[in-house]
Symmetry: C2
Subunit: 348 residues, 2 copies
């Protein structure tokens, strides 16, 4: 990498970036990029740090490039917005190969093209430690969907299925791997007969595919009051919605749409996928507050976008708290959230 | 740091951020921030990496917070824009103290207040290596001032004086230091009689004060065709203007406004501040292309903003090249630019 030099790498990257895109006035190359967004401009930023958020030996660089864009796009989507423009700062060890950088940008630019996002700026630096990837994503919206909008009586609903990303994380610790093209290179501890489930869960973890249009569509029709994307896990993110909306919430564990591949893999080892769905995180599905009288409409609208929307509980007046409802009995749920400085933290 | 935990630190930081500002609809705390900018939105991003862009033992954290905002604001200013909204990603070693983070945000928020910038998002992560600080700054403009706008016959002009930041970098290697409040704690190799010059140059390096309004004002009046901020050094940044405008340029070394403190310190050690001004970088003054017939107007307008504007050369038709003009003789200038992967690189 140090043989090639930063300027040459930046020239190479720049040559790969399309110069045209929606809202793009001036792309990479001047003191700042120039874009047109509005009426509301959304801004989100998320980092991936080697050793904390990803492991290089587990993560093909192409998928790393795709993922860092996806997780930021998920935040814009959860606000009811459309992603438009991204900046990417890459801080690399000097021993990282040019092939790594090129493959990272392969994935990033592929995902940009899929999502209609312009790459408008960035940096390349050397570091003596972990690889650090920072992406800031700019989107636009007419009306924004906040975490604070849930009302007492709203249903707690989620998109898609939960638990596959966390099952994928466990598979990675057991030696399962994807190859550079995103196919399965090793099933780890599992036999070939489980390869479809292993591949599904690894991809859910390393190359998530969140629903990016449905929240906006539901919001425009008044079918949803509040939204958050499921990055920390259902328990933690529902608690965040409760805190911002100043409500309590209950969920019926039997209604949680568990990912079938995760269920099968967990069952085979004598475990239960419910814990993965509740606390696992990284699913990047949407958690939304749906007005009770609009649940059928919302489910039908989501289906138009090929997204399954499932009502799993309800919001109620009360101190911010998340409970599991089983046989009409409420049990307070411990929220497990990630803490980068303390490892996994279990408050309450 | 790991005793306190990421969530607690984020809560503390968040409690310090003002919730109101120009164009701010929704600040920190949801999936994304919501702002209103326009008609043109400017986006720039710049990183500071420990060991490459700064050394912790040389840089009071308060000034680090101020500087990372300033260098991004300088990019927005060089586009003729107004800085508005910033995101900050901080990647820290686990051994970094809470006091460091708090002091960093002291400086950052102080500079935000001075410049009218809203802090709208960010991240806090742990890393096993160098501290990495990424800032993305969003600004707005009506008309943008590009690097590509210079015309043959335009004057090459610079704001302020040059060389002090590079002199400051040398002083740091010689043991001169600022204290946490930004005052002088050591003059290093220099006697007390030089303390005013040492303090000036250290501050120029660690807490630069670029002109942030004058480029916009000049552009609105048609007194300037192109602009770039002097981050890499006069030679390299003028070459960048030439390359983007497809012109050559000459500069008269005797007309370059050398910083008097840098001149005095260099003279005392038998050196010449011209090299610092030409290649030193980090001055964050503006380099602009001024139409020849507007030079007097431009100088007078800049003076209204208390900014000295000096014409030091001219743009001409020809292959991108920067020359020094001495006694009517042109000598091609080697451009020295920073390369993070190769150290200082000297092309040409």
């Amino acid at each position: 990498m140090s043989d090639i030099g930063e300027k040459a790498i930046l020239r190479h990257i720049r040559s790969r970036i399309p110069s045209w895109g929606v809202g793009l006035v001036l792309g990479v190359g001047d003191d700042a990029a120039v874009v047109e967004t509005g009426p509301r401009t959304l801004v989100t930023t998320d980092s991936l740090v080697e050793g904390i958020d990803f492991r290089s030996e587990w993560t093909p660089p192409t998928l790393l490039g795709r993922r860092v864009l996806t997780i930021n796009a998920s935040d814009i989507a959860a606000m009811g917005g459309v992603p438009r423009h991204a900046t990417v700062s890459l801080c690399l060890r000097p021993d990282v190969t040019f092939g790594f950088v090129d493959a990272f940008y392969d994935g990033l630019l592929e995902r940009c093209a899929e999502l209609g996002i312009n790459l408008i700026g960035g940096n390349l630096s050397a570091t003596h430690g972990s690889i650090v990837i920072d992406v800031t994503l700019i989107g636009e919206a007419h009306e924004c969907l906040l975490r604070s909008g849930a009302l007492a009586g709203d249903c707690v609903a989620v998109t898609g299925t939960l638990g596959a990303a966390a099952a994928g994380a466990r598979l990675l610790t057991q030696g399962a791997r994807l190859n550079a093209e995103g196919g399965l290179s090793s099933t780890g501890l599992w036999t070939e007969s489980s390869s479809a489930a292993v591949l599904h869960c690894l991809r859910a973890n390393l190359d998530p595919a969140p629903p990016l249009t449905v929240a906006r569509s539901l919001a425009e029709r008044g079918f949803v009051h509040a939204a958050i994307d499921l990055s920390d896990g259902l328990s933690g993110d529902l608690m965040a919605l409760c805190a911002e909306s100043n409500l309590s919430a209950w969920i019926d564990p039997e209604r949680i749409p568990l990912n079938q591949h995760a269920v099968n893999l967990e069952r085979a080892r004598g475990g239960d996928a419910l814990a993965l769905a509740l606390h696992g995180g990284d699913d990047y599905q949407l958690l939304v507050a749906v007005p009770a009288e609009k649940v059928e409409d919302a489910v039908a609208e989501a289906m138009m976008w090929d997204v399954k929307l499932t009502c799993i509980g309800g919001f109620e007046a009360g101190e911010p708290l998340v409970s599991l409802k089983m046989d009409q009995t409420l049990t307070a749920l411990s929220c497990v959230t990630q803490d980068h400085f303390k490892g996994v933290k279990r408050p309450g």
